[in-house]
């Protein structure tokens, strides 16, 4: 290919090969990002680890080196294991709810429906809401004195007295999971819907000619086509639900008792109300390790996808 070779050879100067100059240009483009990464992510992560080896007051930010004492204390701490369990419950339940609602709505919105564009916009809406807005609206609906939900429930005789949505366990956890499900299922819907629209109609036509039922069409065509996107969505939502702080903190603050205190909230509680930076950092490190595990799974799945596509 002489046409290509000539200008490139012409640009060879300073003894640098084309590959080296390309690499250098790549680095230059990456440089601002790399700097930010080093200062704002890599260095703080190392700091987290370093602080987790100290008994340190948040007020003075001074403390003694205690080695792994903070970690040892965690393993014996009922608060930690409680929060760990609550994180597990929270993540699993949120995920199940979001996947169920998300896939259901995607299937419905992919089919024929009157005013379908409006329906899609409305379904998407909760996802666009700021968490603070979602919390305000739901706290108002859940309000024990003026809440509309309790009014409806009493009016239609579904329960004898007002339901204690947020002031009792396990109600608080359930209510908060419902809100998280409501707020985040559109993510699943959108992702699945995008994939559904990409399934060639010819596949269904062929199946219909073969006399396949609606159910078997779903099972044999739709689901296999969705499998990759579902895998990705499940991992992403698991990660995001696991690290959720804002929604739970604003909704319940971790209470009542500690019934909605997940690991992120426990970190906050240790570092600020309890002013114990070291043990907060230790919990953060534990969370980090768990996240790395999730990350591994996600990255593996991601690479498989990439390879499948480039094939």
């Amino acid at each position: 290919m002489p046409a290509l070779a000539a200008p490139m050879a012409g640009r060879r100067r300073g003894g640098w090969s084309l590959a080296a100059r390309n690499a250098a240009f790549g680095y230059v483009l990456m440089l601002p990002s790399i700097l930010f990464f080093l200062v704002l992510i890599a260095y703080p992560l190392l700091q987290t680890f370093w602080i987790s080896l100290h008994r340190m007051s948040t007020l003075t930010r001074q403390g003694e080196f205690v080695g792994l004492a903070n970690y040892r204390a965690l393993l014996e701490s009922a608060d930690f294991w409680g929060a760990f369990g609550q994180s597990l419950v929270w993540t699993v339940c949120c995920l199940a709810l979001q996947m169920g609602l998300g896939i259901g709505f995607a299937l419905v919105l992919n089919a024929r429906l009157t005013f379908r564009p409006a329906a899609r916009a409305l379904v998407l809406f909760p996802y666009l809401l700021s968490t603070v807005v979602a919390v305000l609206v739901w706290q108002w609906l859940f309000n024990d004195m003026y809440g509309y939900l309790n009014y409806l429930i009493e009016e239609y005789g579904l329960s004898d007295g007002p339901v204690n949505w947020l002031g009792q366990s396990p109600n608080a956890m359930i209510s908060t999971i419902l809100v998280a499900g409501w707020k985040h299922f559109p993510f699943v819907t959108i992702a699945v819907l995008a994939r559904l629209q990409g399934i060639p109609p010819a596949l269904y036509d062929a199946a219909r000619i073969d006399g396949a039922s609606a159910w078997s069409r779903f099972w044999d065509i739709t689901l296999p086509q969705l499998r990759p996107v579902l895998a990705m969505v499940i991992i992403l939502r698991t990660i995001w639900d696991f690290k959720e702080f804002d929604l739970i903190f604003m909704m319940t603050g971790g209470g009542p008792r500690s019934s909605t205190e997940t690991l992120p909230l426990l970190i906050y509680k240790e570092v600020f109300p309890k002013l114990s930076m070291g043990s907060g950092a230790a919990i953060a490190m534990v969370m980090l390790v768990i996240m790395v595990a999730f990350f591994w799974v996600y990255a593996g799945q991601y690479d498989r996808e990439e390879r499948a596509r480039s094939r």
């Binding site: 007020l59 003075t60 319940t252 009542p256 008792r257 019934s259 002013l275």
Partner: protein
């Protein structure tokens, strides 16, 4: 010759003066563009407005300074202080800090002694119970002083009309309160509001209930006393009472409590005199239907209340201690002090005897209108104590701030009510956790 010397001396003197002036210059220059930051936990709009008006006078007397008023929840104080200390922008003066936090901060060397201010006002003018509370006897100074001598939990507000209709006995004892609460409870109106959210209100009210049952959190000998029959009795009493309290009480703090009572949705509720202000403003129909009694106690209990003793402190990191002190003194000047107290009359009671007994303080329509109620609150206040020093015999408990900060006490109550734990088990668990904190 001598003239020369004299000149030289004069020049020297002049030079020294100029040099001193120069040395002082940076301070002046700094002062000219100084933003002074004032923190408070009193957050009602009218209170903020009063602070701003008082500091407007201060700014006039100290040209070049501007005072910024910032308000926080009690729960936010220490986290926010930590954040500003880290950022190097600490507040110059903090008002209405719970005294337990004062001693906790003092232990870490973060506060400036305020003895000068106390002396300037007159040590004898402060109520003794507040002074003894906030003395660092080991190092011999006061790290803060209480700006109010009132109680938010000691007074139980009630609706005369509802109690009368129900033909109830009133609130003279625990049993009477339970009976009255049961009788006044109906759809739309709760018999009482007993807040037990994980907030300072929840902690204070529980602490007071345990005290009035005769118990201690820490015994006078320094051992943990939380696991006692008094605590168990308090848990059982509260559990009965909560049948008539709103469903969400486990998340209630100050705001929800005062709102519920003022909007007429509860027959009784503990609170400070803020009830009177909000009632007159938001629900004047009921303004004549309310009155107050001391929060009841069982037979054989100990007649004490949880006093607020919310205090004024100067962070050691504040940039100009002198200006901070002057800000504090400005707030303590009788006219300013009364002005602030009068925007929420009877909510904050003064901690200066001269102000409490003054005609200016009494000259307020709300205080005049509700004189018996205000007297009830003043009487309760006189029996106020703090977790710092649960009785005269107790040594100052510097871990009190940590005990409050961790909300162990009210969590033990939540264990009983929400977790379904037996009162005995919850008291034992709480005691263990407190013991853990005391060791730290």
């Amino acid at each position: 010759m001598s003239i020369r010397v004299a000149t030289t001396r004069r020049a020297l003197l002049g030079g020294t003066g100029a040099a001193l002036g120069l040395l002082a210059m940076p301070a002046i220059v700094r002062a000219q563009s100084r933003e002074l930051i004032f923190w408070t936990t009193q957050r009602a709009p009218e209170q903020i407005a009063a602070y701003k008006a008082i500091f407007a006078g201060f700014e006039q007397q100290h040209p070049g300074t501007t005072v910024t008023v910032q308000s926080f929840l009690e729960e936010e104080l220490l986290p926010k202080l930590a954040a500003t200390l880290a950022a190097g922008t600490p507040p110059d003066l903090i008002s209405h800090m719970p005294p337990e936090f004062v001693m906790q901060l003092n232990e870490q060397g973060l506060l400036q002694p305020v003895d000068d201010i106390i002396k300037a006002v007159g040590e004898g003018d402060f109520y003794e119970n507040s002074l003894e509370l906030l003395r660092d006897s080991r190092r011999g100074y006061y790290p803060g002083f209480a700006i109010v001598n009132s109680t938010t939990t000691g007074a139980l507000w009630y609706r005369k009309d509802l109690v009368g209709e129900a033909g109830a006995a009133g609130y003279a004892s625990w049993d009477a309160m339970l009976d009255t609460t049961r009788r006044t409870n109906r759809r739309g109106v709760f018999g009482t509001i007993y807040p037990f959210g994980k907030t300072s209100m929840g902690d204070k009210l529980l602490l007071q209930t345990i005290w009035r049952a005769g118990g201690y959190i820490i015994n006078p000998d320094g051992t943990v006393g939380f696991n006692s029959p008094a605590t168990v009795a308090a848990f059982e009493f509260i559990r009965d009472l909560l049948k008539y309290s709103p469903a969400g009480s486990a998340n209630y703090a100050y705001t929800e409590t005062v709102n519920g009572f003022v909007e007429g949705r509860a027959a009784s509720a503990p609170y400070s005199g803020r009830v009177l202000i909000n009632m007159q403003a938001q629900n004047p129909k009921l303004a004549d239907a309310v009155s107050v009694v001391p929060f009841p106690m069982p037979a054989g209990g100990r007649d004490v209340f949880v006093g607020d003793f919310q205090s004024m402190v100067i962070p050691r990191a504040a940039r100009d201690q002198e200006l901070s002190k002057r800000m504090a003194l400005t707030l303590l000047k009788t006219d300013n002090y009364v002005r602030f107290l009068h925007v929420t009359p009877s909510h904050n009671l003064p901690n200066l005897k001269s102000v409490a007994g003054s005609a200016e303080f009494a000259a307020n329509p709300t205080i005049a209108r509700y004189r018996p109620e205000v007297d009830t609150m003043i009487a309760a206040t006189a029996k106020g104590r703090s977790l710092l020093k649960e009785s005269r015999e107790h040594a100052t408990n510097t871990h009190a701030g940590a005990i409050l900060g961790s909300r162990i006490m009210v969590e033990a109550l939540q264990d009983v009510i929400i977790g379904g734990m037996s009162p005995q088990a919850a008291a034992a668990r709480g005691a263990d956790r407190i013991a853990g904190l005391m060791k730290a």
